[in-house]
């Protein structure tokens, strides 16, 4: 098999419920800090779940003054940027800074690949439905005349706006695209960027994902399909992947970004190299929209593809950063899938879930978890699965319970399984020149 072009990570950044940047997030994750609390972003009265992982508004307060926004002076950027995009700009600013992205002259060879779904309709949108659609027929004439529905509402709803604005802000003139594959979107965005660089279509890609759905309509969707944790003694204890008392996921928000680059290009410009993206695999359950495949077919297939794409075998895997949502179904099936892929070694390989601390930031999760996996490899630290208290016989792997563990490891898988049955897996490696 011909050797594939090597693709490395030359920058990363994130903003999460437990940190304004990657350093703070990693430090808190290492300590097992939970970012889950009672939601303040909207009135949760009457809802069966009232918790989530919010990013501190203060961390976004100087959004418009950030170097990327200030230098470009894009008219109305504050208005046209959704909260998700603001989070993404924060994460990309950090990643671009660490990768010294500004120093690259040929901007035609830099692209952007983002997992993002756009902003949800708001309660105010629903009010408009009442005013201009009382009989089930929407009076768009009246709506248009009054100008009550802003252009920016439409703009913020569009998924491609995030990658387009990032392309402008960071002066990237290469490929720019948006993935909309739910919880797998962030990982798929990184996987697609990997393919583009390998293929020679780009030298550098900003890749990642963002999510900010802690508003009533965004939250309501998951309440209605009964996917969220509804029984918890305290918010911090609600996200408990692989624990027998888990009963749903905890929604959160955040953003993660990587700068991927061909190794040759990175070495030529003396860029810092933090890790290597070794492989990527995706799959579909093709089972049911609301249920994962009970035998973990899709999850196992994505992992096997990522390992194969990395030209490795399952014996090479030393750590798995699990999707680990804290739902009864996912954690059980993911455990099964890991066993199918790693075989007898499965019980000896540490597996942990960052979502126990940061919750589930949907389209951002794959990117944030990839960043944390890389930082863990470089610091020889396995981040813990917190709130692991009660053994579930159907989840019987080593989940690095409650406390971070010091362990040298060089090759890891990072899983992301999307709602609807789309699965993605990244194979990440410590950089070895």
């Amino acid at each position: 098999m011909p050797a594939k072009k090597r693709v490395v990570v030359t920058g990363y950044g994130m903003i999460t419920p437990i940190g304004k940047d990657s350093r703070e997030t990693f430090a808190n994750a290492r300590k097992g800090v939970s970012g889950i609390g009672l939601l303040s972003s909207f009135d949760t009265k009457g809802l069966p779940c009232r918790i989530g992982g919010q990013v501190d508004d203060f961390w976004l307060s100087d959004f418009s003054a950030s170097p990327a926004c200030a230098t470009k002076r894009i008219q109305g950027i504050e208005k046209c940027s959704s909260r998700g995009l603001k989070l993404m700009i924060s994460a990309v600013s950090e990643a671009a800074g660490s990768a010294c992205l500004d120093s690259i002259e040929n901007r035609d060879r830099i692209g952007v690949s983002i997992g993002y779904h756009g902003e949800n309709p708001s309660i105010e949108d629903l009010l408009l439905l009442y005013r201009y659609g009382q009989n089930g027929v929407w009076d768009i004439c009246g709506l248009s005349k009054n100008g009550v529905y802003s252009f920016f509402n439409f703009f913020r709803r569009k998924p491609d706006v995030a990658s387009s604005i990032l392309s402008i802000l960071f002066n990237c003139r290469g490929s720019s695209f948006t993935m909309v594959s739910a919880c797998a979107a962030g990982a798929q965005a990184i996987g697609e960027a990997l393919g583009l660089i390998r293929e020679g279509k780009a030298e550098v890609m900003i890749a990642g994902g963002c999510e900010a759905s802690l508003d009533f309509m965004g939250f309501l969707g998951f309440v209605m399909i009964r996917a969220l944790a509804e029984r918890y003694s305290s918010p911090e204890k609600a996200s408990r992947p692989f624990d027998r008392k888990r009963n749903g996921f905890v929604m959160s928000e955040g953003a993660g970004a990587l700068v991927l680059e061909s190794l040759d290009h990175a070495l030529e410009r003396n860029a810092p190299v933090f890790a290597e993206v070794l492989g990527y695999g995706s799959s579909a359950d093709a089972f049911r929209i609301t249920d994962v495949h009970p035998k973990g077919d899709g999850a196992a297939f994505a992992m096997q593809r990522a390992i194969s794409d990395a030209q490795l075998t399952s014996d090479d895997i030393e750590y798995v950063n699990a999707h680990g949502t804290s739902t009864i179904q996912n954690d059980q099936v993911e455990t099964l899938a890991i066993k199918r892929v790693l075989g007898e070694r499965a019980t000896k390989i540490p597996v942990s879930s960052n979502k126990s601390m940061i919750g589930h930031p949907i389209a951002a999760s794959g990117a944030i978890e990839a960043c944390l996996t890389i930082m863990g490899m470089n610091d020889s630290v396995l981040l813990p699965t917190i709130n692991y208290e009660f053994f579930d016989p159907r989840c019987d792997l080593d989940y690095v319970p409650n406390k971070a563990r010091q362990l040298e490891h060089r090759i890891a898988l990072s899983n992301s399984f999307g709602f609807g049955g789309q699965n993605a897996c990244l194979c990440l490696g410590k950089f070895l020149p």
């Binding site: 009135d43 009265k45 009457g46 692209g111 779904h117 949800n120 309709p121 309660i123 629903l126 009010l127 439905l129 009442y130 009382q134 089930g136 929407w138 009076d139 768009i140 004439c141 709506l143 248009s144 005349k145 529905y149 439409f154 709803r157 569009k158 998924p159 491609d160 387009s164 392309s167 990237c172 003139r173 290469g174 490929s175 720019s176 948006t178 993935m179 909309v180 594959s181 739910a182 697609e192 393919g195 293929e199 020679g200 969707g221 209605m224 399909i225 995706s282 799959s283 579909a284 359950d285 093709a286 929209i289 609301t290 077919d297 899709g298 593809r305 709602f419 609807g420 049955g421 789309q422």
Partner: protein, 411 residues
Amino acid sequence: MKAISHCPSSSSADKVAITGLGGVCSLGNSIGEIARRFMSGESGKKQITDFDTGEFSPLAAQAKNPPVIKTDIHPELARSMGKHLSLLLASAGEAFCRAGIGSGMFDPQDIGFFAGMGMVDYHVEDLLGAVLKSMNPDGGLDYDRFFAVGYREIYPLWPLGMLNNVAFCQVSIHFGLQGENCVFSPHGDAGIQAVAEAVNVLVDGKAKVALAGGVSEEISPLSLARARLHGLIGSPEKKELLDPASEIFLGECGAMLVLEPLSSALERGAHILGRISGFGFAYGKDRERGFASRQAICLAIGGALCHAGLDPGGIGLVMTAGLSRNELEAVGEIFGGDVEPPIMMTTAKTMGEMFAAGPVLSAAIGLTIPDARSSVLSPRSYALRPILVNGISYEGRCASMIVEKTSGETL
């Protein structure tokens, strides 16, 4: 003619064959019918009668009667997915059928699926009940009431219809597609991205066959309002268009290709309809006119020509996105000059702006029209010469793809 600077041709893409085409739009429910009616100059633009368009443009090219494909999807859920689902199902079904691929021919894990999905919008009637149930006597929304009671009026699976990937996943379920996959969104460039990713996966050996293409938005009050506020469509009274030279109307469409490695397609005796030769992508927004800038479009076209190892003179037909003057200027810059310019066509003027489906349908038509024996192309037939297809987004993204018609029997 602009000289395209030398670049290494990957030559990998031309190993991928197109063995199936499928399409549903305002001009018909099959690629053959659409191509025939397109070449005879028919337009799918009609008055919208499903809802009151108010002061927005009342014209659009809707796919009025997409084929009904029986699925086991709950009817309410299928309704919430709207035409995304029916357009995707029907075009995928036709593409598989034309490729001669039936159930059990391939391991489901060897079938990749890649699509560009147009925007999904909520249906007013899905939410209105919740609002009406939550009004206070003075006509305002009683938030307490909404949170406590109103929201229960909403169909529980309504949120699924809001996710761009749900109709895609439903099609995976229907056809049993378990291989590599990805969903891009929402404009013309997304459809080309999807085809490009399918080609990469096939070349890498990660799938043995792939379904790739795109779906438009469903035309609704929200989609019209969005297009109007973007300055894409005018109104009978006001003409405040982003680019006055390019007034457009919206169109509905699903368009899919079946792709296979050329060698294995030949081995199984598949009819080879065409080949994928190259792709190019770029970003650059024209802040005055909107859409992608002329330079970015040139870069995308140039990238596709390089990837295909072609000079501009090698292109026989250009299927433009037909959305902006910048594209025409870019095409003029690249193809103008001392050689016979390629034939240029656009589907946008007769079938509307079809978002992610547009360039895929254009490619399918380009591969089909010689069979339609239209007099329009005679005597300057482009047959067996490569076709360049452009996809352009409102936000500045652009993509180009080159496909080649092949004479299947002689391969």
